[in-house]
Assembly symmetry: C2
Homo-oligomer: 372 residues x 2
C-alpha cells in the first residue's frame, strides 16, 4: 500500500485488540504512526502484535496522544473512565456500536468529557479477533463521530483525522441519532434474522433441502456471536424496542389477515381487506428496500440493467467491460452471477436509464449474448 | 450453450410467460424442444417470444404433449382445469409455490387427476416478468414434484423428465409436506424481510447511509412483487401462520427482555434472566442457520472475498479484472457498489478458498488498494 502522511500523531494507545482494535493498529502502523497495544487477554494482545498492529504497552508509555477503546459495549464506559484518568493529556475515543449508553454512563461518573469523543466505524467481518484484522477494514466505510456535546473541538478533530487516516468517511451524528439509526439498519435486522433462523432448529431436513438464496440471505447474519449481540442489544434496548414494537404490530396484522384467508380457503371469497393488509405489508417492504443506498436499493430504480452471458474463462469479463467502455457508456453497477454447472456467468450491468438499447446494440455488434 | 438430448417431447405449451414460464421456455428451446406460448397479456407473451422462450400458440397447436401452467396460485386451479379439458392427450403440470390449495380446488372441481402432476421449481428472483427470464434459472435447484395420489406413473415421469431436462433436481414430496417446507424456508423469511424493510420507509436518509451488507442481505427479497406474494401467502396461510405465531412468541420474549434491560439501564444490574432470553434467541439463530445445507450463508462462506477500491472512472473496473486474470486467478463472483459519498467503487471479488493472499499480493503489486 502506498505511504501517505497521517494527520494522526502517536503514540496511539489501543485498548482491546480484537478485530477492530487490531485493524486500527495495523492501519496506523502502515502510516508510520507509533501504536501501543493493551488487552486484558495476554494471548489476544500478543496475537495483535504479531499481526503488526503495534507494540506492547509499557509503563514508560506516558505520552499517549490518543486512546482508542475497542471493547464490548458493556465494559466500554469503565475502560474509557480508566483511560481518561491514566492519560490526562490524551483524547479518548471508543468504537462501541452503541453510543448513548456509553455517554450516559460517563456523564453519571463525572468523566472529563472535553477529552472524550465517541465513535463507531461501520465496518466489521464475520470473523473476529486479531487474526481477522485488516489494515483496510475501514476504507470506504462510514465512521460515525459522536461529540459528547462538551467535547473539545480539538478532540473531535483528532477523531475525524483518525477516521480519515483509515480512509473511512467521517459522519457526524449525535448519540441518540446514531443509536436510532443502528437500531433500524443493524440491530432490528439482526434480531429478525435470528428469529427466522431459530425456526429452522427443528425443521425436517427435507424442508431445509428446499432452501434457496433468499433464506440464506435473510439468515446470514444469524451466525453472529450471541454474547457480543446480547451486550449490544441490551445497551441499545431503548432505541431497538420501539422499532421491534412497530414490527410486531405489522406482524400481528399479517397474522390476522392470513387467519382470515385460511378461514376463507375453499370458499370463493377472501375478504379483500385481509388480502389488502398482506399486499400493503409487502408493498411497504418494496418502498423500504428501495431506499437503501447501493445495489440492492435505490439504484435498481435509477438504472436499466442489461444481463450478458460471459464465458467462464479468465479475461472474458475484462473484455466485456472493455467493450462497455469502448461503447462510451459508463457502467454504474455490476453484479456477476456464477451459473451452477454452466460454462457461463451472467453479468448484470446497470447503466443510466435510456442507455440500455444502445448498450445492447454495441455489445451485440461485438458478439455478446444476453440473458433476460 | 452445448446441445444435449431432451427427454421432454414437444410441443410443450406454456401458459403464463412471466419469469418462470419464459425461463422454462428458453431452457426447452435451447434443447431443441418445440414450445408454444400463451399468456392473457399480449405484451407479456410477445416479450417472452422475443427473449426466445418459444413461439406464439395458434389454434393449430392441438397435439400438445405437456402443458406447463405458470400462473399465480389463485388462478392456477381454473387454468389447470381449462388446459386439462382443452388438451385431453396432454399431461398438465403447474409451478405454483403452493400445492395443497391447488390440488384441493382441482379435486373439488372433479378434475381428471390422472393427467395432472403439481410441481414447484425452487428457483426465482426478486425480479419478475419475461425480461428477467434465464434458461439456467433452474440449474442445480430442487424441483418439487407432487403426485396427486391418483396421478398416472407416466404423468409423473413426464414432469420428472422436465425437471431433469432443465438441470434441476426432482424432489418427490406430498402437497402438505411441500407447503409446510416452503412456509418455513421461503414464505416466513419473505414476510420477515418485508416487515424489516417496511421499517425503513420513514427512516432518516442519514440513518440509511449507515446501511451495510447485513441489512442489504436481510431485506433483498423484500423487493418481491406484492400481488404475487399476496396470492402465495393467502393460499398457504394454514402452513405459514403456525410458524409466524412461533416467531411472534420469540419476538415477544425479546421485546420483554429488552424492556427489562432498558429499565435497568444505568443501574449496575440487568436481571440475568433478561439477558439470557436475548442470548438464547441469538444462539438459537446460530443453530438454525447452521442447519441450512449447501453454501451456508451464501457465497461469502463458499469463497474468500477480496474487496478492492476502484476509482469511479470508465475502464478502471476492466483494468482491475484484467489484472485479476493476469494473476491467473479465476474470479468466481463479483459485486460492485459505490461507497457512500466517495468517488470510488467497492469491488467484492470472490475467489476459491486459499487464493485470497495470492490475489491480494498480485493486486497490491499492481497498485490496487483494498477495503474491508
Amino acid at each position: 500500500m502506498p505511504e501517505q502522511r497521517a494527520a494522526t500523531r502517536g503514540p496511539v494507545r489501543i485498548v482491546g485488540t480484537g478485530l477492530l482494535g487490531a485493524s486500527i493498529g495495523m492501519a496506523l502502523r502502515d502510516l508510520g504512526v507509533d501504536v501501543v497495544l493493551h488487552d486484558p487477554s495476554r494471548t489476544t494482545v500478543l496475537l495483535a502484535r504479531d499481526v503488526g498492529a503495534g507494540r506492547l504497552a509499557t509503563p514508560q508509555d506516558t505520552d499517549v496522544r490518543l486512546v482508542v477503546v475497542a471493547a464490548p459495549p458493556d465494559v466500554t464506559p469503565d475502560v474509557v473512565l480508566a483511560e481518561l484518568a491514566a492519560h490526562p493529556g490524551a483524547v479518548v475515543t471508543d468504537v462501541a456500536s452503541v453510543k448513548s449508553a456509553v455517554l450516559d454512563a460517563l456523564r453519571a461518573a463525572g468523566a472529563d468529557l472535553s477529552r472524550y469523543v465517541g465513535s463507531h466505524p461501520m465496518a466489521g467481518s464475520e470473523r473476529s479477533g486479531p487474526t481477522a484484522a485488516r489494515p483496510d477494514l475501514f476504507a470506504g466505510r462510514p465512521w460515525v463521530v459522536v461529540g459528547s456535546g462538551t467535547s473539545g473541538g480539538d478532540a473531535v478533530r483528532v477523531v475525524r483525522d483518525l477516521a480519515n487516516d483509515l480512509r473511512a468517511t467521517p459522519v457526524m451524528l449525535d448519540a441518540r441519532a446514531h443509536d436510532d439509526a443502528v437500531a433500524l439498519v443493524s440491530h432490528v435486522p439482526q434480531i429478525a434474522a435470528s428469529l427466522v433462523a431459530a425456526r429452522l432448529c427443528d425443521a425436517d431436513p427435507a424442508a431445509l433441502d428446499l432452501a434457496g438464496q433468499g433464506l440464506r440471505d435473510v439468515t446470514r447474519v444469524a451466525a453472529s456471536d450471541p454474547a457480543l449481540w446480547t451486550s449490544i442489544l441490551a445497551a441499545n434496548a431503548g432505541a431497538v424496542n420501539p422499532v421491534l414494537r412497530a414490527l410486531r404490530a405489522d406482524l400481528d396484522g399479517v397474522i390476522a389477515a392470513l387467519d382470515e384467508a385460511a378461514a376463507a380457503a375453499g370458499s370463493e371469497s377472501v375478504a379483500s381487506g385481509a388480502l389488502g393488509t398482506v399486499a400493503s405489508a409487502i408493498a411497504a417492504g418494496n418502498v423500504g428496500v428501495s431506499r437503501i443506498p447501493g445495489k440492492h436499493g435505490g439504484v435498481r430504480r435509477a438504472y436499466d440493467v442489461v444481463t450478458v452471458l460471459v464465458p467462464d474463462a479468465p479475461g472474458e469479463l475484462a473484455r466485456l467491460l472493455a467493450d462497455v467502455g469502448a461503447a462510451g457508456i459508463n457502467l454504474e453497477e455490476l453484479a456477476l452471477e456464477h451459473a451452477p454447472r454452466q460454462p457461463v456467468g451472467l453479468a448484470a450491468i446497470s447503466v443510466l436509464r435510456g442507455l440500455r438499447g444502445r448498450l445492447e446494440d454495441e455489445l451485440t455488434a461485438r458478439g455478446w449474448r444476453f440473458a433476460g
